[in-house]
Symmetry: C2
Subunit: 332 residues, 2 copies
DNA sequence: TTGTATGCGTTATCAG
DNA sequence: CTGATAACGCATACAA
């Protein structure tokens, strides 16, 4: 193979330092048995030449890349950004780095998982993506990196999921609604393919049913504010004043804000007087005085930190469902 | 070196298919000269064994990783998310993948650039990060991957920057303000270390000065809404009714919204009657009826698409300053 | 069309 | 403590 690159390698440094290339490598190994004087010489030569170890070659030999493949598909939800920020920062502190894989129509889970395998990623993290647990299981069959699911539940075999438990959240929300006199609650959910939609809705419905209260259901079909606006507009224009919901619980904050804009801006309803609005996630936007969105805070920091413990190998990976916290503001 | 892994390699497939490992590799090379029958056999064996080429080994040999290191530091600005989405999607379409590097106190540009070099990234993209052009130049000295700067200007040697030109933006905004009778404009900017702060402010000041109008300056110090709120609160509480600004141009939409919340919610001012508010970026939130933020849209799609052309090697990389577009809503 | 030798830059292991 | 040899899995050039 023709040498057509000018990359500086350990052999180059070795030549300059007057040692063998293995000694050069030892100089870069914190625990390498090497004389201090030799190491100093090598490091000096390395600095002169601008040498830096090639991680590709290292990974090939050690079978560790220190890279985590992160699969994301809903870029419309702003909560992803702070979570991404915390996750990347924490992993970088551990010497690991994140490869971001955007899941969409032309790049599905299988493609992404294959890419992660071919790149020898140390682990794969599915961050809030919509997936079919069954097909995921078959995709992960055989060898391949360990797989973690963040912010979504998943009972597939051998997959560790870190999720927010909908039960306490919806129990609290239900109690709050009933305590504040709401009797005609509705639930606004996004795409049906997301398990969170089902989980949260069912949890809320069950809680309300125990008190003899029914839950109306509105389908936005996606997690976009405009979809929420459209769905709310359609639903409320068809409901008479006696059947009109007096509370709207939304699958996430984005939907809640999209709904609120229509309720207040177009339908002239007052929040919370005419209708209570509750979200889920606790995104920054919801905290603005203009919205004052009452919501359920997902324990992002906790989830991310725990995930990093797993990835760093400090704790044995176990699926968990964390609680989160009720954030009461002015919208309910 | 002991063989301690169960990774399936081309040799394994070769054994099953009854050919040499080089033939296996040819089967996975779209342009490889190989008999159709042989290829079919090999692919069948590969499928059985679950073989997939090891990109690490390939990259080591070809000296191409098809990985782009993306350096990001301001995770507080929601516009990053859609841009990230478009960039990753476009690159994945080109067979490239993004490694996300979070720049912060404990992981600076030098660390990130070194990591990118060690990992043999094909290119480095600085996405709206605050950096010192001088030190960047020295860091990039020598070999190393080509470096691109997205959403920020940069005249460092050998660096290609894709940016929004502040001149036409501020000319338009200035004209709009004057045409709508504003005479006491102020500019709200984020951290001083960001070149956009200086560029936009200076451009606006120059335009206004030509018409004999002075520009007051408010310093938020960071890109957080709370900082904007604090700065606006402080500034307006000190200004008398005759010196109070009648227009507030903000370095970005986040600052604009933070400011608006205080202006309307705390100071009881009407937007745009009492004061016009203008942002920069055009984030989704600003388009909500509750804000109706008039702003300057950065041409994200254009910038990203052009960057991808460069990265894919279809166009010779050249620094550009794109125009963008005035988005007039209700706030000014 | 197929097989062979050699190189990519590192790590692991062993000999001195 | 240092040097040497074999591996990691694939690509390239060349020979058959």
């Amino acid at each position: 193979m023709a040498r057509r690159s000018s990359t500086i390698t350990s052999a180059d440094v070795a030549r300059v330092a007057g040692v063998s290339k293995w000694t050069v490598i030892r100089a870069f190994d914190p625990g390498g048995s090497i004389a201090e004087e030799t190491r100093a010489n090598v490091l000096k030569a390395a600095l002169e030449l601008g040498y830096t170890p090639n991680l590709l070659a290292r990974s090939l030999a050690t079978r560790r890349t220190c890279q985590v493949a992160l699969l994301v598909d809903d870029f419309g939800n702003p909560y992803k950004l702070p979570t991404l920020e915390r996750l990347t920062a924490a992993l970088q502190r551990e010497g690991m780095t994140v490869t971001l894989l955007n899941i969409n129509e032309s790049f599905d889970h299988l493609t992404a998982l294959t890419d992660a395998r071919r790149r020898q990623a140390d682990a794969v993290v599915l961050f809030g993506t919509a997936f079919n647990p069954g097909s995921l299981e078959t995709m992960l069959k055989g060898d391949g990196p360990p797989c973690y699911v963040l912010a979504r539940d998943c009972d597939a075999e051998g997959i560790v999921a870190l999720d927010t438990d909908p039960a306490p959240a919806m129990a609290t929300i239900s109690a709050h609604l009933l305590a504040t006199g709401r009797r005609l609650p509705a639930f606004l959910c996004g795409p049906r393919t997301y398990s969170t939609a089902l989980g949260r809705r069912r949890a809320l419905r069950d809680c309300l049913a125990q008190q003899g209260v029914a839950l109306a259901e509105i389908d936005a079909g996606s997690y976009e504010m405009s979809s929420a606006a459209r769905a709310v507009r359609a639903f409320f224009s068809q409901s008479s004043s006696s059947t009109r919901p007096d509370a709207l619980v939304c699958e996430n904050d984005i939907l809640a804000i999209g709904a609120m804009e229509v309720l207040r801006g177009e339908l002239g309803l007052k929040v919370p007087q005419d209708i209570a609005v509750i979200g889920f996630d606790d995104i920054e936007m919801g905290a603005l005085p203009s919205f004052g969105l009452t919501t359920w805070q997902q324990p992002w920091a906790e989830m991310v930190d725990l995930l990093v413990e797993y990835l760093a190998g400090r704790q044995p990976p176990v699926s968990v469902r964390l609680a989160g916290q009720f954030i009461r503001r002015t919208s309910a």
